[in-house]
Symmetry: C2
Subunit: 207 residues, 2 copies
DNA sequence: GATAAACTGTACACACCTGTTCGAGTTAAC
DNA sequence: GTTAACTCGAACAGGTGTGTACAGTTTATC
């Protein structure tokens, strides 16, 4: 075997900014944690009342193993929600909000749609376990982005301004969730959803 | 004693087209059944996972008494949902759908809003207990009414017809539920909701 | 290949919800 | 005022979910 040259760069991640473990986590442990989080995200997005047992089984892991990585159900849910928030922020940060407000909103809706559809009922699971203000904080980031764009569009005379901005944000989110539900019901396909969401939302925001 | 003249007309309601009880229900029993149904409607509309205990307590009745009137949780939920459906059908049947489609839709939305806001998450409680087709049947009636009106408006060139009617119905319902949620969140008041719903929905349906 | 970390299934304690039974107390109806 | 219907609380059985403890086995790591 080639004596593994320069393995220093590939050193196992310390990954402990606070805990200060002197031993790196084992590879399979990391893999399992990842599988659990992924499974929890998928399962909870479909059924916010799913049990730990279902999540563990979906992740291909024993229930006890799951508890080895997460103190409680609440801890797991919090972790999943935090990840979803981070993923959401990251995806939305990449959206170009400049230029024509209507076009910008179309791009923002396209990105938001995918997130809404993927995370589905996860927000429900979160609000059942986490304190309310923690959940509102989760929605605040994306909402702020939308609100900013709407305000710019209203000032430019592109969007109607005869109703509260906050309501317009709520209506927009409602349409997104409605579309996700419609897809799950088989009423429309996931492919055509973005266009329908965009057309409907733009109509609702235009005088 | 005055030999109880002509009591035939004021006879206690037989109320048994099928069961065939030979004895009329006692007054307090009727009162309690009513209180339970009302409490269940209110509680389940707010929290579809509410326990029988909560419902009984809200109704001011012992848990055992509740089970004396309803075989199981499922029976109670079914009864509540059936009542809501009947109430909905009745209220919507009174709406005048003739004349200008936009005006007619405004009237229909006004009526639907109150029902949506009152019954809230009751549909969730129903779909957890009742077979899916029974739930879809519940939504089908009102949806049919909306769809008919939309189709008439599309034919008249008043509503945009570049998207499926079913999607428009879904979007309309989504906006209604979104408004209800916004009221519960304190974002808007119940008073201003109808106007916002009407303006937003009409905008969404207009090219 | 030795070691320690991690995984597994089983089993237990605890809590909550559902549905039922029982006996005793209330109350509407005749 | 008698009777039967109704209500009540307590208590039980069965089910499910959560979280913990234990002992044996696998497996990554050195």
């Amino acid at each position: 075997m080639a004596t593994t040259p320069t393995r220093t760069t590939a050193a196992p991640p310390r990954t402990s900014p606070d805990g200060g473990r002197d031993r790196a986590k084992r590879a399979d442990a990391v893999r399992n944690v990842e599988a659990i989080l992924a499974a929890a995200t998928r399962v909870l997005a479909a059924d916010p009342d799913a049990s730990i047992n279902e999540i563990a089984k979906t992740a291909g892991v024993g229930r006890v193993t799951l508890y080895g990585h997460f103190d409680s159900r609440a801890t797991l849910v919090r972790e999943v929600v935090d990840r979803a928030i981070a993923q959401t922020d990251e995806a939305l940060a990449e959206v170009d909000l400049s230029g024509d407000p209507r076009d910008a909103l179309g791009r923002l809706l396209e990105a938001t749609w995918h997130l809404t559809h993927r995370f589905g009922a996860l927000v429900v699971a979160g609000s059942q376990v986490l304190p309310p203000e923690e959940m509102s904080r989760a929605h605040e980031g994306p909402a702020q982005r939308v609100r900013g764009l709407l305000e710019r569009g209203r000032a430019a005379g592109e969007f109607r301004d005869d109703m509260p901005v906050d309501w317009q944000v709520s209506a927009l989110q409602a349409i997104l969730h409605g579309a996700s539900a419609a897809v799950h019901r088989g009423e429309i396909t996931a492919d055509e959803a973005p266009a329908l969401v965009r057309a409907t939302t733009l109509g609702a925001l235009t005088a």
